[in-house]
Amino acid sequence: MTDQTTRARPLSPHIQIYRWTLTMMLSILHRATGVALYAGTVLLAWWLLAAATGPEAYAQVKTVSSAWYGRLVLFGYSWALFHHMFGGLRHFIWDTGRGFDLKHVEIIARLTSLLPLILTAGVWVAAYAYLGAF
């Protein structure tokens, strides 16, 4: 290599330069929810291993999952999953070469922000109904 690599070269502006947009936020959220789901698989493994181990181990999972902080984490996990899923569907549309014009980008962005929220709420209403809470 020559000293070419150490010379100060122009850089493209970083994200703090730009005005915030919904599409930009969704791009970041898709990555953030992906990483959160990655970490969350520890919970899936804990739950399955506890169920396979026996009633005492499973009772520990139940204690945590029915405490307020457990519920909060599970609520966040369910939203992250739905949000990431719809973000993925958005990618599928783009993968076919469609939906790149500004009008459709904006419509799809709004749908992929709203639908996951509605679905998450629906799932928790259903879960509490099964729990007999109402």
Binding site: V35, T41, L48, L49, A52, P55, L81, A127, Y130
Partner: protein
């Protein structure tokens, strides 16, 4: 702009990583599989929100449920491993720390995968 690639490299179409579109393709295949599989899990968790230990293990011990759980585990872990690999390549630039993070990603993914499979097999087979 002139193409810098040799004719041979263009024919092979494998790019600089020598893997072609495999990473991209498998990210999409597993993403597609993840949709019904995770929806199933969420549905099962909702229906069993109030179930006790015996009901839950009887449910998970059913071979068909076990099959779906195994497919979910393999697909989700494959998918998240590919996904985090890209995140690591994007943000970690030091050669040594990048390599370590990539290896940690493999270890984590395989451990979660094998742990979940072990649990499901025990629940199904007994």
């Amino acid at each position: 702009m002139s193409d810098m690639r040799t004719p041979l490299s263009r024919v092979r179409g494998l790019g600089s990583a020598k893997k072609g579109t495999e990473h991209f393709f498998m990210q999409r295949v597993t993403a597609l599989a993840n949709i019904p599989l995770t929806l199933f899990l969420v549905g099962a968790l909702v229906v069993h929100a109030g179930s006790d230990y015996a009901t839950m293990t009887a449910f998970l011990g059913n071979p068909f449920i076990g099959l779906i759980m195994l497919l979910l585990i393999v697909s989700a872990v494959y998918h998240m491993r590919l996904g985090l690999q890209v995140v690591i390549e994007d943000y970690i630039h030091g050669e040594a720390s990048k390599l370590l993070a990539l290896i940690a990603n493999q270890f984590f993914a395989f451990t979660i995968c094998v742990a979940c499979i072990l649990a499901v097999l025990k629940l199904v087979i007994g």
